[in-house]
């Protein structure tokens, strides 16, 4: 995989060298002209973006893409999806093959600068966690000293694991298995005490056990993986639209506005902040260069963040809100004021 890394490194350097400053507003104009938003999505990650048995794209990231289409074009169905692998995703955005990456990409400093991306928010806070068999009686990562751990090689997961155990002065015995599916099966068969990967992955893998209740995901999270949408450098207007689309979904949840009650709220609400968001009081849409009902369209057609989360991440992966709850519920989701 070293050569692959070199190639990717080269590509990133070339991308940075070639990335030209787009004219502000370019992307929005081209989206309006072609009549759809082209989103880069994961090739298959259940809960985030994956085709269903019917071949339709579904997931939290897919719905963010639909919300962007609802905000700009007033119709959430005007989207097209380009499935991208991890290696392809940045080139695809740079070469304008896609308008926006809604592909569970971790926000890091080098990607935000050298790679030429603008991360405009975090729509899912992930982090590396542990899963153990229930009968082991372990209820915290502190109790894992000397454990055998099933991991996949060459990932940041492996490095994070080593860092964590070293910092705690504990030891572990790695069992390295090439593919995630096999690693999980090996763990279920009892070959290892612990399986580790991102928390969202742990939750979904746990569901595949013949009896999921035999296994528990420990509450400890040992790394930060803020996943969010990214756009190209240099188009501030489009970056703003994607950022505020995400914020509008959060704000709607905070104010208790859902796709079901948005019509009634728009008609009756006396709350000035809701009136501003839904366009009863004009000005916000104009500031973004959109129509005044941009946020109304997002909420009416896609729903608020909580609805989207429950429909995708919770229903399909059985993952509770945790860090992704609103700040009012002890989570990290804190929408900036729409005014």
């Amino acid at each position: 995989m070293k050569s692959l890394k070199l190639i990717v490194g080269g590509v990133i350097a070339a991308t940075a060298a070639l990335s030209t400053v787009a004219m502000a507003g370019d992307t929005v104009d081209s989206i309006k002209k072609k009549g759809y938003v082209q989103c880069g999505v994961n090739t298959a990650l259940t809960g985030f973006s994956a085709p269903t048995s019917e071949g339709k794209w579904e997931g939290l990231d897919v719905e963010l893409c639909q919300a962007i289409a609802a905000a700009i074009l007033g119709d959430k169905t005007k989207t097209k999806y380009t499935p991208l692998t991890a290696a392809q995703r940045f080139t695809a955005l740079q070469s304008k093959e896609v308008d926006v990456l809604t592909r569970n990409t971790t926000w890091t400093l080098s990607r935000d600068t050298k790679v030429g991306l603008n991360f405009v928010g975090v729509n899912f806070y992930d982090g590396q966690g542990f899963m153990v068999a229930k009968e082991s009686g372990i209820d915290s990562a502190e109790g894992l000293d000397g454990a055998t751990v099933c991991i996949e090689p060459g990932t940041t997961t492996e490095l994070n694991l080593a860092d964590y155990f070293r910092s705690k002065g504990m030891s572990f015995e790695p069992v390295v298995i090439e593919s995630a599916t096999e690693a999980v099966q090996t763990f279920f068969s009892g070959r290892c005490d612990v399986y580790t990967t991102d928390a969202s992955g742990l939750a979904s893998y746990r569901q595949t056990a013949s009896n999921p209740d035999d296994f528990v995901v420990l509450p400890d999270i040992i790394s930060k993986e803020p996943l969010g949408p990214a756009v190209r450098h240099g188009d501030e207007q489009f970056a703003d639209i994607v950022r505020w689309t995400h914020i509008a979904m959060l704000e709607a949840e905070e104010k208790g506005i859902t796709s079901a009650n948005v019509d009634a709220v728009r008609k009756d609400s006396k709350d000035p902040s809701i009136q501003r968001m839904l366009g009863t009081t004009e000005g916000m849409g104009e500031a973004l260069g959109l129509s005044e009902d941009w946020a109304y369209n997002i909420i009416k057609q896609v729903g608020n963040y909580g609805e989207s989360y429950d429909r995708n991440v919770k229903a399909k992966l059985g993952l509770e809100r945790g860090l992704n709850a609103l700040w009012t519920n002890g989570g990290l989701m804190y929408p900036a004021p729409i005014r």
Partner: protein
């Protein structure tokens, strides 16, 4: 039936064959017994797992409870695996396209069809298939090619890859033998360069590096880039196959042709190529089989070929535990195609050898 061989009584029939071939000595008897035991044991286990204890309904809870295979994943996901993300209501289109495509290939492989009108037939068919797959005319809704996937995509990449690489391969092979040094150097350089790198890096270049060199605002379709990559790769290999055919011909054939005053192109068209191509049919089919299987590498650039759609199908948490069944399903499809091609090559070889036996 003139050459019937008569055998002494008691030396024919199934029992005789078994005695003679399986139990002719003590050691043979022991080995045969062990093999038969293992075979029976294996068959029972497979039948047990694959049929008797298997679940065929698309019900993942029933699957988890069962001890056998879960073919329910196929009942649930076969449309996704075979057709990818092509809109479900329109899936008859890739189905018709596939049948047409396979029929066309079947015809083209039969000797009685090796006529010049095969070229317009192919051109017409490719246009027809394009209309069917893309739509947008004749009342068919438009389906862009990012939604294509599964078996049609695999067939498309492999067949178009080989068919387009065929003339290119011939030209490269001729160029490599050319007496004009510049042409020869170019052809040798191309062939050796492409053969010197794995297909996966060609695809990677086509999908990740190439777009960076295009002018601002120009994007070339991902499928097209991969297809061109496969064509160039296959052409380099076919060129070497054809060179083998050219070198197998006795020098006298070239000399006789020039003695008759034929020009270079006439020589190639009427004397050399018909003979050379006949010799290389088996390795060409072989190269086609390997191209067919190599197309599964496009999953690294996010195209949903048959193998990639199977991988997508097993990311669904309720079905993830049954990946073995999904892979068996895909392997069976690959086997049907590859085995038919291999048998065809064998038949053709026997067929062509008849001419040499006089």
């Amino acid at each position: 039936m003139n050459n019937v061989t008569m055998k002494p009584p008691g030396q024919s029939g199934a029992l005789y064959w078994i005695r003679e071939n399986l139990f002719s000595s003590k050691l043979n008897t022991v080995i045969s017994a062990i093999c038969i035991y293992l075979l029976v044991k294996f068959t029972i286990a497979v039948v047990d797992w694959g049929i008797l204890n298997a679940v065929f309904a698309a019900d993942s809870t029933a699957c988890k409870a069962a001890s056998g295979a879960c073919w329910g994943i196929i009942s649930e996901k076969y449309q996704l695996i075979v057709f990818g993300t092509y809109p479900r209501d329109e899936q008859w289109r890739p189905l018709v396209a596939m049948v047409w495509f396979v029929g066309l290939i079947g015809c083209s492989l039969h000797r009685s069809f090796w006529k010049l009108w095969l070229i317009p037939l192919w051109t017409g068919s490719l246009i027809g298939l394009g209309v069917l797959m893309w739509g947008g005319v004749l009342g068919l809704s438009y389906v862009e090619n990012t939604q294509w996937g599964g078996l049609p995509l695999t067939l498309l990449l492999a067949v178009v890859g080989t068919v387009a690489a065929f003339p290119l391969g011939i030209l490269l092979a001729l160029g490599r033998q050319s007496e004009l040094p510049l042409i020869r150097i170019w052809c040798v350089a191309f062939i050796e360069l492409v053969r010197g790198v794995p297909l996966i890096s060609v695809l990677f270049m086509a999908s990740v590096m190439f777009p960076l060199f295009l002018p601002e605002g120009v994007t070339i379709d991902k499928l097209l880039r991969a297809q061109v990559g496969i064509i160039l790769f296959t052409a380099a290999y076919l060129a070497e196959v054809f060179r083998g055919g050219l070198q197998a011909l006795p020098k006298g054939q070239y000399e006789a042709a020039s003695a008759m005053g034929l020009t270079y192109w006439q020589t190639m068209r009427v004397v050399i190529m018909p003979q050379a191509l006949r010799i290389v049919i088996p390795p060409t089919v072989n190269s086609f089989i390997s191209t067919f299987k190599d197309t599964s590498l496009v999953l690294i650039i996010g195209l949903f070929d048959l193998l990639a759609t199977a991988k997508v199908a097993i990311t669904d948490p309720s079905w993830r535990a049954f990946y073995v069944e999904a892979y068996i399903f895909v392997a069976a499809i690959y086997f049907v195609f590859c085995y038919s091609m291999a048998s065809y090559a064998n038949n053709l070889e026997t067929d062509l050898r008849k001419g040499e036996q006089h």
